[in-house]
Each structure stands twice: as C-alpha cells, then as structure tokens.
C-alpha cells in the first residue's frame, strides 16, 4: 500500500474515478460485490428496524391482559408481519447476502463472485419482494393474518391479502437461490492459486454449506407459495379436505423448506463466530476439519428433520419416532462447533473486544436455544409444549440470540475494514450488555410461561401469566435501548470515528491484508493463500 495516499479518498463506496456509472445508478446497477453487500446490509437493517418495532408493539400489547392497544385482527396482522419480515427479509439474507457478499470473494482471494450481474439481479429480486410484501400490508382487504407459516385451510379462506404476500415470498426465495448458486460456483471456481479446500476460511465453508441448502431447499418453498396462490386464485382444491385434499401435506411441503431454512439462518452466523473466536484468542482454531465438516453435516442432516414441527398433527407414530431421532442427530454437529469454539478459547490470550463479546453472547444464547430445542425434538415433551411460548422462546434464543448476535458480531468485526473507521469500544460493550440483558429478560420468562401452558399467538391470556408477561415486556425495552445504542455507536464510528488501520484485530485471513476501507479493486494480482488461523507474525496494528 502507498503510505502517502489516503485510502478513504478511493474507497469502494466513493465514486469510481476510472469511469463507469455514477450517482445512484452506480449503486443500484452495480455489479461490485462490495457495493451489493452494502445495499443488502442497509435494506436488511431497515427491515430489521421495522419488524423490531412491530415486535415491540406486540410486547406492549401483551404487557397487561385484556383488550388493550390493538384489536384482535390488528394483533394477528402484527405477528404475521413481524414473522414474515423478520424471516424472509431479514434473517434469511442477513449474514450471507451482506457480509457474505463483501467478504466471501476476498476470503478466497477473488475480486468478485462468479456471476456479478446475477448478484445484482438477486438484489433487485429482494427489492421487488420487499415492495410486494409492503404492498400486501396496505392494499386489498387487510394485512395477512395467517402467521408466517401460511397454514391451510385458513390461508385459503382468509380474505386478507395472502395472495400478494406468498408471491413476495416466492420472489424472495428466488433471490435467495441465486445468491446460494452464485456462492457455490464462486467457491468452486474462483479460489486463488494455493487456496486449497483445507485453507478455506471457515466462514467460506459455512457459506458453502448454506449455499447448498439455499439451492436444494428453497425451490420447495417456491412451489408451496405458488400452490397457496393457485389454491386461492384458481381454487384447485389440492389441500381442501372436502374434495379429498390433505392439509397435512401442505405442512410437510412447508417444513421441507422451512426447517432447513433455519440452517440457512444459523450456519453463516456460525461461520462468523468461527472467524472471530480464534482472532481474539490469538490461537489457531481448534478442530478446523470438524468445524468445516459439521457445517456440511448440519446442512445434510438438517434437511431430514422437518416433520418435528408436526408431532401433534396426527402423523403416524413411526414417522414421529424417526423424525425425533433425526432431530437428535442434527444436534451433534451443532454441539461439535460449540465445543470447538470453547476449546479455541481455552488457554488463549483473550482480548475482550466488542466482536468477541458478541461472539460469546452468541455461544451463550445459542446453547440455551439449542438445548431447549432438544426438549422440543423429543416427541414426548413436545406434546406438552407444542405451540406454546416455549417454542417462541426457543426460536428467539436461536435466531435472535444466535443469528442476530452473529450478525452484530460481524458488524463490529468488519465495520473498520469496510468503512475504514473505528467505533467506540466502550459504548459497543455497553450496548452488548444491554442487548444480552434485554434478550434474556424478554425471552426467558417465555420458557416458564410455555411450560405452564401459555399458547403462542394468543391475543389475551389468563391472569396467572400477568406477572411474567409484564417482566417480558420490560425486557423488550432494555433490548430496544441496547439496539439503539449499538446502531448509533456504529453509525457514529463508521461516519466520524478515528481512521482504522489495516489489521486492527490481527486477523490472518486475506481481507486484513487489504487497505481499510476496502478499495474498488481488491487484489491487483493473485494473493498467496495464507494459513487462515496461523497468528505467528500477525499482530494487531492498531
């Protein structure tokens, strides 16, 4: 790098002096993976804020029993939209579409993905899907009120705007497929010379496994969404019991996608954690092979467990037994990862910087979420807690505590690299503690209420749940305060913070050999593939 030259002036988000498009067009029609990653990131965070506000309103309504704040119909629409936006517009694309897009090519020593134009196209599909989802709220006969699962027969009968919403889901699925397809091909074809599969950073490994799930599972969601549309518009009657149809088959189709989808959500975040833990322990990652392998094992086994969402639906006992067993099997590779991270930390030279804090938060929350998942995966106990708050708590521990914190960890880890400026570490730590406190106060009471029998999605509840409901709502405020502090701190840091060095954390993967902020063209010639977790001679330069 030229030391007299200010890298801020030629950052990839500044206009490209060498020609090409300018202004808005240089963003929305960009084929640069870094710009597309930032486009995704900004929209995903916008959608996250919108759906978080919906969640806060839901919790506010539930603070006291009785009919307050929202009508029952509004409440149903609120939790449906919270689910649809969070799942399809935030969590599914979260880490892969934003940080995956920016850092996957850099991790493997490439200047872009295999299909840059397709990458831009998939972002446009995301935009169209998001706009359609918003359209479904404000047009027709009211916002969808089915829950994010669109279960038949209700989704066929309700007069609300389900048809538009499922088309939005179809288009968002297409966008996700194209991202996965692009990443798989990129990893196969664009690795720099010497970048063997065993030198691939674990983030790339996790995106590779995710890509396969995206490609192989999402089409089932596509056809399921199309069928709901066809059932509503063409009245085919494929799931209508009166005509011989079977609503249970809908549930199978839905979960054949939607269970593997939770691994689309969690695997990339696990990849982020696998990058962060060794850097801040100054120790090579423990069990590289097993972490890489367990990503593939999760992708494979996770595709065979979908019917554990249907233990109370009247499936045969044999099916329940098999799916319960397979569910326990998929817990093994997840546990392998957790133990490997802990072994990496063991006797490491730990520096408790913000990215590591969020990563440790991930391990805590994911472990609680994962272990309570076994309670749900075991058919006997699931009968007791099925469709209660226990499920909601489990899911939010895994997805918000897992994927959400993984995303925040990635933001704190890579923000200095992307924007070339450093945020305030003390404020970041404060926001972390507020978020962790808020999450646990918000979701842990839901485990207890679930065990006591509080059903999910209910508008009202019995007085005995009132104290814990109240505590849970307080938690949502701590969480909101933490999120506001975190986003404000990151914004201030990326905008006005002190310039970041090339390698502030002392990472050994390739992106840390590049200037901060990232430049228009990353590698001018093929880089030498490093040992991604060997920190001999690699030190933080900040």
């Amino acid at each position: 790098m030229d030391h007299t030259h200010d890298p801020q002036a030629t950052a990839f988000y500044k206009p490209d002096e060498t020609g090409g498009k300018s202004g808005l067009a240089s963003w929305i029609f960009s084929t640069d993976h870094k710009r597309i990653g930032l486009l995704y990131l900004s929209l995903i965070l916008l959608m996250f804020c919108a759906a978080t506000v919906l969640g806060l309103i839901i919790k506010l309504k539930l603070m006291t029993p009785g009919s307050t704040l929202l009508s029952p119909q509004q409440y149903n629409a609120m939790f449906t939209l919270h689910g649809v936006i969070m799942i399809f517009l935030v969590v599914i694309p979260s880490v892969p579409a934003s940080f995956g897009n920016i850092f996957l090519p850099l991790h493997i020593g490439a200047n872009d993905v295999s299909f840059p134009r397709l990458n831009n196209f998939s972002w446009w599909l995301y935009v169209i899907g998001a706009l359609l989802a918003l359209t479904s709220i404000f047009t027709g006969d009211g916002a969808p009120d089915t829950g994010w699962t669109f279960y038949v027969p209700f989704s066929e009968r309700t007069t609300t705007n389900v048809s538009v919403a499922v088309i939005a889901v179809f288009i968002l699925g297409f966008s996700s497929i194209l991202t996965g397809l692009n990443f798989i091909t990129t990893i196969h074809r664009l690795r720099a010379p010497g970048m063997t599969w065993k030198k691939l950073p674990l983030f790339a490994w996790s995106l590779y496994a995710t890509g396969w799930i995206q490609v192989l599972a999402t089409p089932i969601l596509g056809i399921t969404a199309l069928l709901i549309f066809a059932e509503r518009v063409l009245k085919l009657g494929l799931f209508n019991p009166a005509q011989g149809g079977d609503p249970l088959l809908y549930q199978h189709l839905f979960w054949i996608y939607s269970h593997p989808a939770v691994y689309i959500m969690i695997l990339p975040a696990m990849g982020v954690i696998s990058e962060i833990i060794p850097v801040f322990s100054r120790k090579p990652i423990f069990g590289y092979n097993m972490i890489a392998f367990s990503s593939l094992a999760i992708a494979f086994a996770g595709s065979l467990v979908w019917a554990h969402h249907m233990f109370t639906s009247g499936m045969s006992d044999t099916a329940v037994l098999v799916f319960s067993f397979l569910t326990f099997v998929v817990a093994i590779p997840s546990a392998i990862k957790v133990f490997n991270w802990l072994s990496t930390l063991y006797k490491g030279s730990i520096s408790l910087d913000p990215p590591l804090l969020f990563a440790l938060g991930f391990i805590l929350m994911f472990s609680i979420g994962g272990l309570t998942g076994l309670v749900l995966g075991s058919a006997g106990t699931d009968i007791h807690v099925h469709d209660t708050y226990f499920v909601v708590a489990h899911f939010h521990y895994v997805i918000f505590g897992g994927t959400g914190l993984g995303m925040f960890a990635a933001m704190h880890y890579w923000a200095p690299k992307v924007f070339g400026r450093m945020y305030d570490h003390a404020k970041a730590a404060w926001s972390f503690w507020l978020i962790i406190l808020g999450m646990n106060v918000l979701y842990f009471p839901m485990f207890i209420m679930g065990l006591q029998g509080m059903p999910r999605r209910y508008y009202d509840y019995l007085p005995q749940y009132a104290p814990l409901q109240m505590v849970s709502t307080w938690g949502s405020w701590f969480l909101a305060a933490g999120l506001i502090l975190m986003f404000w701190n990151l914004y201030q840091g990326c905008r006005y913070g002190p310039p970041a060095t090339k390698n502030p954390w002392g990472g050994a993967t390739l992106e840390w050999t590049l200037p901060s902020p990232l430049q228009h063209e990353a590698f001018h010639h093929d880089p030498v593939a490093p040992e991604p977790y060997d920190y001999k001679g690699v030190n933080p330069d900040g």
Binding site: P116, R117, L178, T218, P219, L226, L236, L238, G244
Partner: protein, 204 residues
Amino acid sequence: MAEVAAPLVHKDYHASKMGMWLFLFTEILLFGGLFLLYASYRAKFPQAFHEGGKTLDVFIGGLNTVVLITSSLTVALSITALRRGALVFCQCLLAFTVACAGTFMVNKFIEWSAKFHHGLIPGSEHMAQLPQGQSVFYGLYFAMTGLHGIHVIIGASVILWVMLLIKQGKVTGEDYVVLENAGLYWHIVDLVWIYLFPLFYLIS
C-alpha cells in the same frame, strides 16, 4: 439464465455450466414438490387416478411427447452446428425447436379446452361435486401441466433470445456456452414432460 451465462469480469466456461446445473437442480425440486403431492394422492386414491387417467387423450399426449423429444434433438444438434460454424443451419434447427414448442402449446390448448368444455374447470361447481380424489387428480393435472406449460413458454423465449444473440454475433462457435445452457434448460423442460406423460396419461 441470461445472467448465469455472461459473467462480466472474465469468461469462465465451467462456472457458467456449473451455475446452470445448480439452477436445473432447483427446477427439478420445484416440480419435486408437486411430484410429492402426486405420489401421496395417488397412493390415497388409486381408483380415482385410474378413472381420471382414462379421460385424458393419449393420442395428443403421445404426440406432444414426440414433439418435445424431437425438439430436444434439434437443440442438441444446433450446438454442434454452431461449433462447426454452420450458422444458418444452427438458426434453422433452433427455429424448428421453437416451432415444436408452439405445436406443443397448441395441442395443450386443445386438450385444456376440451376439459373445460366438459365442465372440468378449477373452482367450478362440477369439479367440487366430483367423487373424492378425482378433483384432486384434475387439480394436480392442471397444476403440473400448467406449470410445465409456463416452462415451455420460458424455454422457447430463451431460445428465441439466443437466436438473436447468434445473429448479433455475441454467441459464436468459440463462445457458445449461452446456447449450451439454453439447451440444457430446454432438456429439463422436456424431461419433466417425460415423467408427466406416463403419470397422467398412461396410468389407467
């Protein structure tokens, strides 16, 4: 598919092919969901599927099968023609493929019209009053052949677009991966029909 075929940064033949094959997996799985429904309902209502299958026109279905297989042959030949530099012959073969797609859709139109004429219209009173299982059979018939028909139209449009690219000299005997990918897509459209035909027309 268009986007798969033309990376900006550099031409990577293998990457283009790999991307297309991954996309074809997704197509198979898209139909896979419907095949799953078919398998379940067929096991549940074997008699109704037998009765339903008898009402379909094996001649038109068989004719359409021949038409599609022939079109797959011509699209395969067109790639060889392009690589050998026989541009006009290549364009003729592709035009023939598109014509086959048109023939297929006309036959489909005749078939569906006949069904509609007999009151087999999705959502109609008549469909609702059919014995249990039969309306599911026709529902699946319309859903699967309908989705396949949409794919025929998309495939033919892609081939027309590639013909334009060949005319403009953007797809040549040296750089023919776009045509090859379009051909792959056309084969999957053909292949799905190869399964649909016996499952609906020949099971009775």
